[in-house]
Subunit: 342 residues, 2 copies
Amino acid sequence: MRRVGFDELRGRIERVMLGLGMSAERAALSARLTAETDRDGVRTHGIARLPRFAEMVRLGRIDVCAEPHLVAAFGGLERWSGSLDRGVPGPGNLAAYAAMQRAMELASVHGLGAVALGGTSHWMRAGTYGWQAADAGFAAMCWSNTLPNLPPWGASSPALGNNPLVVAIPHAQQPIVLDMAMSQFSYGTLAAYRERGQQLPVPGGYDEQGDLTHDPAAIERSQRALPIGFWKGSGLAFVLDVLAAMLAGGKATHEFDGDPLNEVGQSQIFLAVAPQSLATMSELSRIADGAVAALHAATPIVPGEPARYPGEQTLKTREESLRLGVIVEESAWDNLGRLSSA
Amino acid sequence: MRRVGFDELRGRIERVMLGLGMSAERAALSARLTAETDRDGVRTHGIARLPRFAEMVRLGRIDVCAEPHLVAAFGGLERWSGSLDRGVPGPGNLAAYAAMQRAMELASVHGLGAVALGGTSHWMRAGTYGWQAADAGFAAMCWSNTLPNLPPWGASSPALGNNPLVVAIPHAQQPIVLDMAMSQFSYGTLAAYRERGQQLPVPGGYDEQGDLTHDPAAIERSQRALPIGFWKGSGLAFVLDVLAAMLAGGKATHEFDGDPLNEVGQSQIFLAVAPQSLATMSELSRIADGAVAALHAATPIVPGEPARYPGEQTLKTREESLRLGVIVEESAWDNLGRLSSA
């Protein structure tokens, strides 16, 4: 691990994007979104993903110049395509950012708005689009489907996606942003525990005998990660997939093959709501303040460590990253160096 | 347990509602919604709840004649009150049904629509409003907050509601309807396991020593039921509460006292989306059919028992109830008899 200044990190990512042929404006936005992901401590979905992104560009599976376009519209509801319908999708994070911006424009007119984006590519960090909305004063929900990597409840073969779901609530300088996927632990997190020689803090899946286990390596072998809440997360992953595919007209989870380098065509939903169209910001803030205070007042298991609301830790990590530098893994930093000089 | 004809069950509930002073039209609707809940096998939220409802009417905490009214509107987003703002709320199921109807009307105009309903009372079965929307050809999400009955992750005192969340997808005669609350097991389910002398199939909470347990009685003693996915369900319960309270202007979870007989003022969200405004019903059905087929094709843990989609079992139970009669518990049936002759 090392700490790198935020601007240095962003600049180096920007050079990678320019080197891949992206326009200056888009490279700047893509670099900011990716650097912010590492800044916020979500290291699995920031620069760690860039080698795969660059490889997909090289293979012609992502076109850095392709932009999303409108396919169908009715009032506050729109269907967009990330351009797979024209051959090759553009970068998923730029399409997702544009989709959330458009959903907020629609919400400004209709009170709420939704963009269903199909035919796109991986959006990197899900929470990005929640922070985007909450920072602009909108409540939002968004989610994406993924390739099949999670067995449904009652089955042992992967048929669900570990679909991320985001709920964002504007709240002055402390937005509340939940960013969660449907499995208890991602495979990235399982690998990190295994490499550290640690057991999981709670059961994370099944071993090859079909028993619940805390052992990350056993789950990697069985490929039976646990959906949150067993049958409940399984059901939630399924409905998010079907609803996204229906509204976006993109792929459903079962239409992806298992190869991450082929993972294009995702279906995603971006829903924005304008709460300030119903109440004053001070009334809204008072409600959120009260809920946060009550959460903090719950009796902590560990004395002095109160329960946290979603996003609370992110803001602490962000502040520390901006003050001390962003933590990056040596291997990710080296990869970034290679990509930017390629 | 006994089986009772659906029409007999509905008729008896209707007499209870008429006896409580409800108008004929509203009594018929309330009776249908409640009978359908037992018909669909959700026995915890059908006639089993009527003694408490009748008691709240008797105590003057619910006014059977109060109707929800519009408070604020902007485009496809509306805030309604279940009438607590005028003193006493009306029956929560009737207000919720009206709210989902209104959300669908808004979606017909704007592509999507949302009603935030505050100051209401318990809506009985959450899934009711999902089936209502899906049967009418709309996709929907809805949720309610509740009194605090679930500890947040990292704490031992209840500060979250076991908020139910519904996602509904229209799909010809087989809608996909997810109806799930935020705890792994409700206290009603824990009691049922304890009474049968059974252990839970998966860990359901913590015992008084703070260890995860399959023992329902230990969780009843500790009052530390487990949120689905540990920290994830804890975060989801929190954001659903805050977002509902902000949009509806009703109570947040922390504003309820712990007494179920005082549980009025809930905040609820009803979101409807008109997918047919983006695509033909046959295109939409093809997408859902494909996802269902892929789910059914996953390798089952128990040979011959494929994974099920949310709502699949409900339709089987419904068919059986209509053919053989609705299963009701003797005690609930007796209570209903007493209420209808009161």
